[in-house]
Amino acid sequence: MENFFTRYRNATVLAVVLFLQIFALAVQVKRPEDPRHPEAGSVRLIRVWVVTVITPFEKALVSSSHWVRNLWASYVDLRGVAQENREKNAEIERLKLSQAQLSEEARQARRLQVLLDFKQQSALETVAARVIGTGGSEQSRLLYLDKGSNDGIRPDMPVITPDGVVGKTREVYAGTTQVLVINDANSGLGAALEVSRLQGILRGTPAGDTVLLYVMKDEKVSPGDRLVTSGGDRVFPKGLPVGTVIEVKPGSDLFYSIRVKPAANLGRLEEVLVVTRAPHPQTDEGQAPMRASDIINSHLPNYSPKPKEEQPASNRSTPGAAPAPAGDPTPPLPQGDPR
């Protein structure tokens, strides 16, 4: 027996390690999801450890990056000044250095001013946060922010910029928050075309694109149409810019395949706003939350919604699914993100 394990030591270790991981993966996949606590126990522990180890360096690096940029600008200018030193006096040198530093500060100030203006004009309560890292994988489009539960951030809060929606908070740690970006394949939000008010679900794809789903082929949708949040997912407040339709193709079923360019520049985010409190969307009293299948069925001609009393709470696919806003002819969307 000893000989067997000695002889096949490597293969045995491989089999055991793979089995353990596959078993652990199966347990994670099998476990019922709670939107507020998508993970529990050891898996969350691993994430907490890794985030605790990695993000302090990212925070430090991002915080110091402005200092480094100033230093670099100063260095570049100093080299230039050295060459021109014979022609220029000391006062101009000082002014140039100051200008280099000020211009970087001005750029940052302009960005923050836009953020502040938006924050002041908006009815939303927000927390400004810096983006300090990413998920580092093409399979998972995540961002890490330098603010966490200590700053009032909780899971499932919208993350936006003045340009548009970025994503929503997922895992929240004491000083760090994980954001699921709208172009992640696991992401989803209720969106509506700004003019026609046609509703659908905006999802990410594995390639990092964003597509609008569940818009019937007999509707009129054109490239250039703008999308806003519908508010039906009970995560994003109604009316925030989402993106612009860039391609409309007939899908393989009853629906269009609509590609959307996000309004926010997801590839270049430095500061974002986390919406900690939004005005509650207007709701029709007495209307029960709808399931995802109800939303899809509502596009079909023979659909009739179930009365409220017939829908047991246990059947609701998303606890936060919203009734339709008052006066809105289209039904609400379910929470888009199944996580």
């Binding site: 030591r9 491989l14 199966a26 994670q28 996949v29 990695i54």
Partner: protein, 166 residues
């Protein structure tokens, strides 16, 4: 006569620090350079350790540990990168026993192959077990594997400085 194969070991600081540095850079650099997410620095570290140590059991455990840490930074279930990097760690260390892996061209080609192997295993596990919908994208995946192969030549040369003869 068979040429004797050199086995290397690493200090504890390098064993712990290099994977963490790779994870940190993998998370941080795409903020500034979006295209960088096609690279997989943790994979390069797994391959480097595996071929240098030339012990399949150690190689697969290294791959498992680094893969699980990488999983922890993503929104995916923990284990997808863990499983795929375990397989890569095992395969790389098994290969390291058989061929010369000090040559830059060999290193580049080996990384291209292991990147594709990782992608295949990841895709199979993600689609089969985690109900993901990840498709094989020929152009993108081949391009990414070549890019990782090119980067590996440079990164491995830098990491060689951490090697200690056993």
């Amino acid at each position: 006569m068979r040429e004797e194969i050199q086995v290397y070991r690493f200090s504890i600081a390098a064993t712990v620090g290099l994977p963490l540095a790779a994870l940190f850079l993998q998370s941080w650099i795409p903020l500034r350079l979006g295209f960088f997410s096609i690279f997989d620095l943790p994979l390069l570290v797994v391959i480097f350790f595996a071929v240098a140590r030339r012990d399949p059991a150690t190689g697969l455990l290294t791959g498992c540990a680094i893969g699980l840490l990488q999983d922890a930074l993503t929104a995916q279930p923990v284990g997808l990168y863990g499983i795929s990097k375990t397989v890569v760690g095992y395969a790389a260390s098994s290969l390291g026993v058989r061929i010369d892996v000090e040559n830059p061209i060999t290193r580049g080609l080996m990384t291209v192959a292991f990147y594709l192997l990782q992608r295949l295993v990841y895709m199979a596990v993600a689609n089969g077990m985690a109900a993901q919908d990840i498709a094989w994208r020929w152009g993108h995946d081949i391009g990414a594997s070549l890019a990782n192969g090119a980067l590996a030549v440079v990164v491995f040369a830098m990491l060689d400085t951490f090697k200690q003869r056993s």
